[in-house]
C-alpha cells in the first residue's frame, strides 16, 4: 500500500534562514554601534546606556562610574561576539556551508541567551519589571528563532519553484499601486496643511476668570510651548502668569487629545 506523500512546501525556507541570520546580525551590530557612538548626535539618537546603568547601580548604593562601565563592557563583549558569530553564520549560509552556518548560529544564540539572562538578573536586582518582560521576551525569541532555523534545515529541501499565477500577480500589483498612491497622497497632503503646527504658536482661549486653555496639536513640542507663551505674554501685557496646569492623561479624551494645559494668571500690579 502506498503511503500518502506530504505535499512540497511552498515557503522558500532558504530565505527564512537568511532572514533569521540577517535579523540577529543587524540586531547586535546596531546594539554595538549604540555603545560605540555614545550619546545623541546628528543622525543618531540611540540610548544613553551609561546613564541608565549608572542610575541603576547608584540606586543600589554603588555610585562609582567604573561599576556601570564594567557591567556595560561585559554586555558589550557578549554583544560583539554574538554579532560576529551571527554574521559568520550568515556568510557560511550564503556560501552554502549549511552545517557550519548552523554551528555558528548555535554559538550566536548561546551568546544571545547569555546576554538576556545577564540582563534579566539585573532587572530583578534593580526592580525593573518592564525591562524584565522585555528581556525575557527577547530571550525566548532568540531560542525560538534558533529552533525554527534548525527545523527549516530539515524540512526545507523541497522548496517549490513553480510560477506564480499571472492574473493574481497583476491584480495584487494593481491593488497595491492604487493603495500606495492613495496613502502617499494623503500623507503629503497632511504634511502640506499641518507641518506648520510643529512650530506655530497656539492662541490661548479664555475659559474662566484668569484661566486660559491651550490645546496642543500632536505635532507640538517645546518650540510650540515656548512660542505660545511668548504670544500669550505679548497679547496679555496686563496679566502675569501665576501657574500652568497640565491636564493629566486620565482627563483627556483617550487618544484624541494631545497635550492640554491651562494658564492661570493674575492682574499685573
Amino acid at each position: 500500500m502506498d503511503t500518502p506523500k506530504t505535499p512540497p512546501s511552498v515557503i522558500p525556507h532558504q530565505l527564512v534562514r537568511y532572514a533569521i541570520l540577517m535579523y540577529w546580525s543587524i540586531f547586535w551590530l546596531f546594539n554595538l554601534l549604540d555603545k560605540i557612538i555614545g550619546g545623541a548626535h546628528f543622525l543618531w539618537v540611540g540610548r544613553d546606556r551609561f546613564a541608565q546603568f549608572q542610575k541603576y547601580f547608584a540606586s543600589t548604593g554603588l555610585d562609582s562610574p567604573h561599576i556601570a562601565n564594567a557591567a556595560l563592557a561585559v554586555a558589550g563583549a557578549l554583544e560583539a561576539f554574538a554579532f560576529v558569530f551571527f554574521a559568520g553564520a550568515l556568510i557560511h549560509e550564503l556560501q552554502k556551508n549549511r552545517e557550519t552556518a548552523r554551528r555558528w548560529c548555535f554559538v550566536g544564540t548561546l551568546l544571545t541567551l547569555a546576554t538576556f539572562t545577564f540582563f534579566s538578573l539585573g532587572d530583578h536586582w534593580f526592580g525593573d519589571r518592564f525591562e524584565l518582560l522585555e528581556h525575557t521576551l527577547f530571550w525566548f525569541i532568540s531560542l525560538a528563532s534558533y529552533l525554527v532555523f534548525t527545523h527549516l534545515k530539515e524540512t526545507g529541501m523541497e522548496e517549490q519553484s513553480g510560477n506564480w499565477p499571472r492574473r493574481q500577480v497583476v491584480t495584487t500589483a494593481a491593488v497595491s499601486a492604487i493603495l500606495m498612491i492613495l496613502t502617499s497622497t494623503a500623507i503629503f497632503q497632511h504634511n502640506t496643511t499641518d507641518f506648520r503646527l510643529r512650530t506655530e504658536p497656539i492662541t490661548a482661549q479664555e475659559v474662566g476668570d484668569n484661566i486660559y486653555k491651550v490645546a496642543f496639536p500632536f505635532l507640538g513640542g517645546s518650540t510650540v510651548f515656548e512660542q505660545s507663551l511668548a504670544q500669550f505674554k505679548k497679547s496679555h501685557p496686563d496679566k502675569a502668569i501665576q501657574h500652568i496646569y497640565t491636564v493629566p492623561k486620565p482627563l483627556r479624551l483617550k487618544k484624541a487629545d494631545a497635550l492640554i494645559f491651562y494658564i492661570i494668571t493674575e492682574d499685573q500690579p
Partner: protein
Amino acid sequence: MNEKSILRLSILVFWTFFWGLSVTDKIIPDVQFLWVGKDFFALFVKFFGSLGLKDPLFATTALAGVSALEALNFALYFTATLSFAKGDRALTEKWFFRAILSSMVLFSLFSIADQVFGDRFQLLEHGLFWLILLASWIAFKHIPVPEGQPLHWTPTAASKRAILIGAVLTLVTTWSIWDFADDTFDNVDRPVSGIEVVDGIYKFDFPFLADKLVWEKTVQTFQSQNPDLSIDYIYTGPSELNSKKKTHLLLYIFTRPNG
C-alpha cells in the same frame, strides 16, 4: 555536552535564576544597600485597598501565598537543574515539567487577580510570561535539535578570525564606553544652564544622568547668578514636549524682577 543539552541547560539556568531572584526580592523588603527590587507589599496593599479591603492582613496573606508558590517554583527548577547536573535525563524532565506546571498555575492566578484589580498591562505581562513558560517546555521537550553529536569546536582559520574580530570589537566598545563615561559623568552633579526662551521664562534641558540633586543645584545656581530675579513658578515639561528619546527632562522657571 551535546547541543540539545546546552540549550536545555540554558533554559534551566534562566528559569532557576528567575524564580530564585523573585524569592530573594520577597525576602528583602523595600530598598536596601545593594538591592532595590520591587515593593510588592505596597503594590498588594494598594490593589486590595482598591477593592475596599483596607486591612493589611489581606495583602500580607496574599503576598505570603504568592511567595510560597514562588519558593516552590524555585525549589522545583533547582531540583531539575541538579538532576540535569547528575545526568539523569528522565528525572530532569519530570522535575522541569512540575516546575513549568507550577509556574503556569502561578501566572494563571496572577492573571485572574489582574482582571479583578483591572490592571490590563499586568494582565498582558503575566499572559506573556505564561506563554513563554509553555513555549520553554515545548522547546525543552519536543522541538528537534541535533541530539547525538557533541559540540566539537575545532579551531579553524575562520573561527580564529571571528574571535579576533570579536576581541577587537570588545576593546573598541569598552574604550568607547569608558570615554563616554569620562565625558558625561560630570552631569551627575553639575547644575544645568538655562536659556531665556521667553521674556522672564528660562528653559533647562536636563541630561539623562541628572537627578534630584542636579535639580536642587540648578535652582540654587540660577538664584545666585540672577540675584535681580525671583522665581515665581517652576514648570516640569510633560513628556509631550520632549523630542522623543533625545530629551530627558525639560524644566521651565518663570521669574519676575525683584522689587
